[in-house]
């Protein structure tokens, strides 16, 4: 296929979306694009992701979402302001009925310090996607418990480890660390040996846990 852009037909089979089938579609484009530089295989990069669902989302939200494929896995980077709507559409209209995981990644050098990631799966479509958004320190996100009950503990863990708050969560408190602990351990500025010494001294009666 000589076309630069991928034909939308390749992502249409709804039942079997396997990463393996996506891979070959991306490879023929690469040798055609750069026959001049055969010296070193370039590092793999995310390629645009196209599907009927994405086309539909694009029509409603335009540049607010950036759909990509990397290693055969689909994800979309969504504007912070569109998150409540997009998650709702994915859950109610696109049948992503299972919230696999919610997690975050900390990039302290960026202005928007956190990536928050929802891993979603659809039982009817057998398809897995990730939704990613960028958020600032101190900014909160809407809780997705009304969409997926599973979000409850997952959001608590993100709060516990990163200090990202979720609005509308009925019981947002620490889950793995004890209540009253200071600091968010999975932030990059939290050292691996660091701990809340005050908490340890008061509650465990020892000088240090090290």
């Amino acid at each position: 296929m000589p076309e630069e852009t991928k034909p939308p037909s390749q992502s249409s089979p709804p039942g079997e979306v396997k990463p393996a089938t996506e891979k070959p579609a991306a490879t023929p484009a690469t040798p055609a694009a750069k026959p001049a530089a055969p010296a070193k295989p370039a590092a793999p990069a995310p390629t645009p992701w196209d599907s009927p669902m994405i086309a539909k989302l694009k029509r409603s939200y335009g540049s607010g979402i950036e759909p990509l494929t990397y290693l055969g896995q689909h994800y979309m980077i969504v504007d912070r302001s569109l998150i409540p709507e997009i998650l709702q559409v994915l859950r109610n209209e696109e049948q992503f009925d299972y919230c696999v995981d919610i997690t975050a990644v900390h990039y302290p050098q960026r202005e928007k310090q956190f990536d928050v990631i929802w891993v979603l799966y659809s039982f009817p479509r057998n398809e897995r996607i990730r939704v990613k958004t960028l958020t600032k320190d101190g900014e909160s996100l809407p809780s997705s418990i009304p969409l997926w009950a599973a979000a409850n503990w997952l959001e608590r863990e993100v709060y516990d480890m990163f200090g990202i708050k979720f609005d509308g969560h009925p019981d947002l408190k620490r889950i793995l660390l004890p209540e009253g602990w200071k600091g968010y351990p999975l932030r990059k500025d939290y050292g691996i040996l660091q701990q809340d010494n005050e908490w340890v001294q008061i509650n465990l009666g020892i000088e240090s846990g090290q």
């Binding site: 896995q73 995981d101 039982f123 009950a149 793995l176 999975l186």
Partner: protein, 383 residues
Amino acid sequence: MPDPTSLSPLDLDTPDKTFLDANELIINMGPQHPATHGVLRVILRLDGEKVLGLECVIGYLHRGVEKIGENRTYAMFNPYVDRMDYVAAVSNGLGYCEAVEKLLAIEAPPRAQHVRVILTELNRLTSHQLWLGTHALDIGAITPLFYTFRDREEILKIFEKYCGARLTTHAFRIGGLQYETYSGFEREVKNFLAFFRPKIDEYEELLTTNRIWLERTRGIGKISAEDCIALGVTGPVLRASGVKWDLRKAQPYANYKNFDFEIPIGENGDTYDRYIVRMAEMRQSVRIIEQAVDALPEGPIMAKVPKVIKPPVGEVYHSIEAPKGELGYFIVSDGSTQPYRVRVRPPSFVNLQALDTMCRGQLVADVIAVIGTLDIVLGEVDR
């Protein structure tokens, strides 16, 4: 059954008055309690013997595995994952190795894939055996514990001979296997399967039609398929509620697509059905191992992996069907030798969330049965 999306957090401070001016009771179960399978604390709100609601307090075994991962190289982090679900260490290793392999865009050679399937399924057997023994013990049947531990030992011997460890095996390496199988491996595995097949019948003889077992498990801890999906519950618990979903079939990894096996499902989503599903799963695992041993190909056991593992910048989510449900690894690489972020999506953590939904309206004694039937490992819940 309450709608899991609308369960309010437990009000622990103001117990209501109940019948004959007796107060509702708020009691602690655990963290040091033999039936909570580790250090799990459950706060129960009771009206007499009836559970009105409960709250889990977890984190007693938190070791910061994800933080450790960010400070170790890819290969160095591999043994740590064995310590999460320590009764299914091989599965943890498989998920992690495959996730990193995906990030590196390499694939383990066929012989390694086969050995991986054999060991992972043997590990599923040990995990289910341990579940059966302890679950039955919790409910009052002591004999199955001796039977399952006796037979589990035979599998652990195979692990020990293969890699030197019985529990935290560290059996796999990124790109394949560290060790070639020992001489007589195939014969020993086959002997074990011949030995083990009648043992499953033996377990079932003790329990399946046992009247006490039926009374204690039928209709206990019911959960519907819709609630399972809403709560993200996976593994045998989901299948016992009638959802035919197994990652080995839905999104095949390793080389599971080459093997012929079925996904056993239940109907009622109660404790008894989960027991039946896991027993049937053991039989299916035996089938898979048999096929894998028979078709074990010759060839290399390690793919071409660079000496220093430096995956290109990017992120990947890879999940496998661990004995307890979907075990996922989300790894972010910044192009250096250490992962920028490793997130583990543990099945036990998410499944434990369903405890509240499953226990409301049941008796205190049934909470024990439901904790057992969820098959949680606290090392994985707390990480």
